[in-house]
């Protein structure tokens, strides 16, 4: 039993950390809560369903195509809505409200096209779990864990080593300063949308392979990612730690109270952090006192 909880914790945490990181990449450069990310996540699953089940493409080709489409969806939203808003000097609250509007629009579009019922892309993939160290775990769950580790490492390297990664950090620290020093903040923001959206799409696909898909699956998962981001302090290592904490609390919380309370557990942790350690695990104080 205990081993099973450990595995479940790892799976949950891996998922939260991919979502959290994909969201944070965008949040760091844009400084507003891009809730439409939830639907980009869902779109990954539904694009795969579309290509694989309806068009009959091969599974790997469908997945690749779906990730590309999620990426394009994220970039399209940035280009057509957020960028014009930024040009008008819109505040982060306006951007947030717009993102909620797009979320509602697109989520219902998916509902309308595919229906509200659960869709599955699992058939063909082994559903039966295998026994590892006394815990039952499915191949897709192993893939989730491995993917999340690889993604995290790749991103850390990308941000540290590449020119684009450094530019993203510069924009995250101070947009105006970055612009002055010759970095095009719009281009960097677009890149962060591309990376973040591709990752979100990928996460959506992984979840769908694990537990199927519904049009509303995105918001809840995204909220967990956001919680991981805030608790982690908007920093990749912090997000991974926070995701582990959340996964642990949710899975082991089940020991004491029933599993229905998983969301509530996560949000209580969030509120505690917001009140007592708002900068998160690793974060620097986000705002300096301004008078």
């Amino acid at each position: 039993m205990f081993q099973q909880y450990i595995f479940n914790t790892l799976i949950t945490s891996s998922l939260y950390s991919i979502i959290g990181i994909s969201f944070a990449i965008i949040y760091r450069t844009t400084r507003f809560l891009h809730f439409t990310h939830a639907v980009v996540f869902t779109s990954g699953a539904y694009f795969t369903f579309l290509f694989y089940k309806l068009f009959g493409f091969s599974i790997y080709f469908s997945i690749t195509l779906a990730i590309i489409f999620s990426l394009l969806l994220g970039c399209l939203i940035e280009k057509s809505i957020y960028k014009p808003l930024r040009k008008k000097q819109a505040s982060s609250m306006i951007l947030l409200l717009a993102s909620l509007g797009i979320y509602i629009l697109l989520q219902n579009l998916i509902s309308m096209i595919f229906g509200d019922d659960t869709k599955s892309i699992r058939s063909g993939v082994v559903k039966e779990g295998i026994n590892i160290l006394g815990a039952r775990i499915t191949p897709i769950q192993i893939i989730i864990i491995i993917t999340s580790v690889i993604v995290t490492i790749l991103l850390l390297l990308f941000l540290k080593k590449t020119k684009t990664g450094k530019a993203m950090k510069a924009v995250a620290n101070d947009v105006e300063l970055a612009n002055i020093s010759g970095i095009s903040s719009n281009r960097v923001i677009l890149i962060s949308f591309a990376i973040g959206s591709a990752l979100a799409g990928l996460a959506g696909i992984l979840v769908a392979f694990d537990v199927d898909m519904t049009p509303t699956m995105g918001m809840n998962t995204l909220m967990m990612g956001v919680v991981a981001m805030i608790v982690g302090g908007n920093n990749i290592k912090g997000i991974v730690c926070a995701a582990l904490l959340l996964g642990f609390a949710q899975n082991f919380g089940v020991w004491y109270i029933s599993s229905q309370w998983q969301d509530a557990i996560a949000f209580v942790i969030l509120i505690i952090f917001l009140l007592f350690k708002p900068e998160g695990f690793y974060g620097k104080k986000l705002r300096k006192q301004s008078v």
């Binding site: 509007g101 219902n108 309308m112 229905q260 917001l274 708002p278 006192q289």
Partner: protein, 295 residues
């Protein structure tokens, strides 16, 4: 005819919700995504009182308002420490926690099965059961809410709310206890939202948690913003437009299966369009344009 009355009652309920949220969002400039939670708390308090104790409507209404404003303080107090984006996330969190409680405390709230058979109101011996009498009651409560909100925003108290919205630091420097005002307005707003909840519960006579979701909160904030934040009449306009508009679709003859989605898409789309071209809504006086640099 009953259909029209039904729509008007719903509009009334949403007017109360958006008027009360306007005090927080439009006048004080704090985006809260938890308004449906207070709406729900009002509904559940009144329903549980009526079902368990058979207590009179007026008392239930009173308790719902009090209970909800106490919880309002619970959200308002963190707003002193948690700012901007993080506060919005905190209100999301509160909303989802309340939903979880309504959904999971099955023995108490009926869980997903909800609470059926809520008695209709009896006020001074008059039983409110017809659509028309409900509409009258809703209209009266709307008028009272409007009167209260109007008094507040037109007073020096309301002037301070607007000042907080525009510049917290400056307001503090003038000797105003910004924190106290924020908590007070949260309490008033949540208390008023509970009125809607009580009306809804006793009108439909059945409630379940799905009426008080995060999506409902987003719908209420959309009414405030599309109608016009910082203007009480805007809340009325917003509620009328957003509740009526999808009903008009009904007459276009859309199949029921997609009508619900189209309805949602319509208001999601409207929200985007307004943010792009008219962030102050139809007749608003505030457009969330303050890029927060307040300490």
């Amino acid at each position: 005819m009953t259909y029209l009355l039904h729509i008007f009652i719903l509009i009334g309920i949403y007017i109360i919700l958006s008027l009360s949220l306007n005090l927080i969002a439009g006048y004080t400039g704090i985006l809260s995504m938890a308004h449906a939670a207070f709406y729900g708390i009002g509904a559940y308090i009144a329903a549980l009182m009526a079902l368990n104790f058979n207590s009179p409507f007026i008392l239930n209404l009173f308790l719902a308002v009090i209970g909800s404003s106490i919880l309002g303080a619970l959200v308002g107090i963190p707003s002193l420490r948690i700012k901007d984006d993080y506060f919005i996330i905190a209100t999301f969190a509160f909303q989802i926690i309340i939903f979880n409680i309504l959904n999971n405390l099955v023995s108490f709230t009926g869980g997903p099965m909800g609470l059926p058979g809520i008695p209709q109101p009896v006020i001074f011996g008059i039983k409110i059961s017809s659509h028309f009498s409900f509409l009258v009651l809703t209209a009266i409560l709307c008028a009272i809410t409007y009167f209260i909100c109007n008094k507040i925003v037109k007073s020096p108290f309301g002037r301070i709310l607007k000042a907080i919205r525009e510049d917290e630091v400056f307001t503090k420097s003038l000797g105003k206890n910004v924190s106290a005002y924020k908590v007070k307005i949260f309490m008033i707003s949540s208390g008023l939202a509970a009125i809607s909840g009580v009306m809804y519960a006793t009108y439909i006579t059945y409630i379940d948690p799905t009426s008080f979701t995060l999506m409902e909160s987003i719908f209420i904030i959309s009414i405030v913003i599309i109608g016009g934040a910082g203007n009480l009449k805007g809340s009325i306009v917003g509620a009328v437009v957003l509740v009526m508009l999808p009903e008009i679709l009904r007459f276009v003859g859309l199949p029921n299966s997609i009508a619900a989605n189209i309805r949602q898409m319509l208001y999601g789309g409207l929200l985007v369009v307004f943010m792009l071209w008219r962030p102050q809504g139809f007749i608003g006086e505030y457009s969330f344009n303050r890029n927060n640099e307040n300490g």
